[in-house]
């Protein structure tokens, strides 16, 4: 299989595994997070609603108390009595003992004349007949004003109650310091960015907001009409999300507004969110890492299996090829052997006859003898070839047989004689005489020699030398065979790859890239080894070691 296909397979495995593990993880994470965040937000809103309700009730009670106080005074005092100087003053003093919020008191008759006043300002004699609030008191009996600066030049509001004393109506009017009132509202302001204030129906501030009047309130609230109970509005501003808690006061057309920065309230949630994201990322990364590792392991295993299979196939094919070749060689050798024997005998017969007297006299006697000599020489030469072929054929039976390494090498070399001559390559051998025989497999050894010599010949493009030596090392009990050439050598960077299956420097179609790989594994199987001794510019040298095993018995 191609590398590309393995890469594709790896990517597929990675993708599928990643999908099946990460998607459920993300689903789980998001679901839990959204459930949690929904619950948390609801909780925050509920808290805000409770706060707004409680505070608006408190304000209602505060207002109600002031009104009740005034109503009691109006109900228990007569107009006459209050109009006397000192009467009103007395009452203001008593009230102020329990509540500092009262600034002044005044009595207004039904014509709108301020008939009596007690307080820091001189308002006596002012006529309120044309003021709107005056008519409202007359109509409804109670009036609470918005906060205003008025004549007094500081924020305040007034409460007025109507008293019917016989035919006469009069009004008790009190000024309430809204500063005291304001502190009540401001106490609701929470956190670093929280705010609380009162607005009237026209969305005008009744208390000072914490951060000035910068926030264009109408943008958020869209002039809401009166509603009962608390209402929570979530709105976005240029500064981020804003949460408003709203409730109308019952006693007055004022809206309590509590503004919260959800960011502040949501800090624990945001922290959780951050943790979730970090843990999620770490989990996904570790899953990815795991998948990549497993995939790589699997692919490596697959590649190895593929390579082993290919090597096995190749070596099987090669050995079956050799076996077939061997059988053919044996057949041919036997068929050629007999005619050769006949030719030789006939030549011998001629030689015998040439010894006779009358033939010796012939003037061509010497020619005849030379011809017979030549015939015998060439018959012997042909016989050698046949012998080699037979030797090759015999070695096809894989055995643990007694092997003469020198002989195997010589026989292998004989296959290359012509090719070497043709390519101007000289092959020198330096074989140790009396090299001990060892138990091994001749055909496999021959295959290794064939591969290595073939490589050397391929390396020597423009001719060169191949040097082959054998040597027995009795101490380490092995036979060392060295096959080297003076070709270009093997570049350092591919040195480690040459024994890899499918690695080849030959042109496509000329080499399978399996020769060295098979040779390597064959030598390992035979208990020996094959290694490269790279000499760079001087060419390559392959060292084969073969264990020296003596025949038993």
């Amino acid at each position: 299989m191609e590398d590309l296909e393995f890469k594709k397979l790896g990517m597929k495995i990675t993708g599928i595994t990643l999908g099946f593990s990460v998607i459920p993880l993300l689903l789980l994470g998001f679901t839990i997070y959204y459930q949690f965040s929904g619950t948390y937000t609801t909780k925050i809103k509920e808290n805000l609603a409770t706060l707004v309700t409680n505070k608006s009730h408190a304000l209602d009670i505060f207002l109600g108390e002031r009104i009740a106080q005034l109503k009691i005074i109006a109900a228990t005092q007569s107009f006459q009595k209050l109009c006397n100087e000192g009467g009103l003053e007395n009452i203001l003093r008593i009230i102020r003992q329990s509540s500092e919020t009262f600034i002044d008191l005044g009595i207004i008759d039904q014509e709108g004349n301020h008939v009596s006043y007690c307080g820091p300002y001189n308002l006596k004699g002012i006529n309120y007949k044309n003021e709107r609030w005056f008519h409202e008191v007359l109509a409804k009996g109670v009036y609470v004003s918005d906060v205003f600066m008025g004549f007094r030049k500081f924020p305040h509001f007034i409460i007025a109650v109507l008293r019917r004393e016989g035919d006469m109506n009069w009004i008790l009017r009190a000024t309430i310091d809204s500063g005291v009132f304001e502190s009540q509202v401001n106490s609701i302001q929470q956190g670093r960015n929280g705010d609380a204030y009162l607005v009237n129906a026209a969305m005008e501030f009744q208390t000072t907001p914490r951060f000035g009047k910068i926030a264009p309130l109408k943008n958020f609230l869209h002039a809401p009409t009166r509603f009962s109970g608390p209402r929570i509005i979530q709105s976005s501003s240029p500064h981020g999300e804003v949460l408003f808690g709203l409730q109308w006061l019952e006693g007055k057309n004022w809206l309590l507004v509590v503004r919260e920065d959800p960011k502040e309230e949501l800090t624990p949630l945001l922290r959780t969110q951050r943790y979730v994201v970090i843990i999620g990322v770490v989990a996904i990364l570790s899953i990815l890492l795991g998948i990549l590792l497993i995939t790589r392991l699997m692919i490596r295993q697959l590649v190895r299996a593929e390579q082993e299979k290919a090597m096995l196939d190749e070596s099987l094919m090669q050995s079956s090829k050799m076996a077939a070749l061997g059988k053919m060689a044996a057949g041919v050798a036997h068929e050629v052997n007999n005619p050769l024997a006949v030719i030789k005998e006939k030549a011998g017969w001629i030689r015998d006859l040439l010894e006779e007297e009358d033939v010796k006299q012939s003037k061509n006697f010497q020619e005849f003898r030379d011809a017979v000599d030549k015939i015998e020489i060439h018959v012997d030469r042909a016989k050698k070839v046949v012998h080699r072929m037979l030797g090759f054929a015999r070695r096809m039976e894989p055995l643990r047989e007694s092997v003469d390494v020198n002989k195997v090498l010589e026989q292998t070399l004989s296959f290359f004689e012509n090719e070497a001559k043709y390519q101007n390559i000289s092959i020198t051998t330096q074989m140790q005489q009396n090299l001990p025989r060892t138990l091994s497999d001749t055909s496999q050894l021959q295959q290794v020699f064939l591969n290595l010599i073939n490589n050397s010949i391929d390396a020597l493009d423009n001719g060169g030398d191949i040097f082959i030596s054998t040597q027995a090392d009795l101490r380490s009990k092995e036979i060392k065979i060295c096959i080297r050439d003076n070709g270009p050598g093997i570049p350092k960077e591919i040195e480690k790859k040459i024994f890899d299956p499918f690695f080849t420097t030959k042109k496509v179609g000329q080499g399978t890239g399996l020769g060295l790989a098979i040779s390597y594994s064959l030598m390992e199987k035979l208990g020996g080894s094959l290694r490269l001794e790279n000499r760079q510019e001087e060419g390559a040298a392959f060292i084969i070691t073969l264990p020296l095993t003596y025949q038993e018995g």
Binding site: A333, N337, N338, A341, V342, E345, G348, W349, L390, R394
Partner: protein, 129 residues
Amino acid sequence: MEAMRVLIVDDEIDLLETVVKRLQKRHINASGLPDGEKALAYLRDNPIDVVVLDVKMPGKNGLEILEEIKNTYPSIEVIMITGHASIRSGKQGMSLGAFDYMMKPVGIDELLEKIRQAWIKGQSENNGR
């Protein structure tokens, strides 16, 4: 000492004829036959001292002929000629009582020498009996 009588058995007629001729030229009383059956029949009527037997022959092979010769005429010495690939049958022949085996191709002088040795061995054994 009687003249020795040699029988060559080989299915390769050209080879057989030439070898016989060359032996005769060396004053050996040699005759040749192309197969084992004929050889056995020939032995019935003609006294022979040494038989040179090719192992690989059509019909009865050399080893079978060898066994029969040794059974019927124990005094005849047999030299086996084997091909390169059948050394084993040569060794087998030795265990069946052959004098020796020789590998093809056999030079005429070696053959002659081997025949002589076989004959001498046969002579001494027969005289001793």
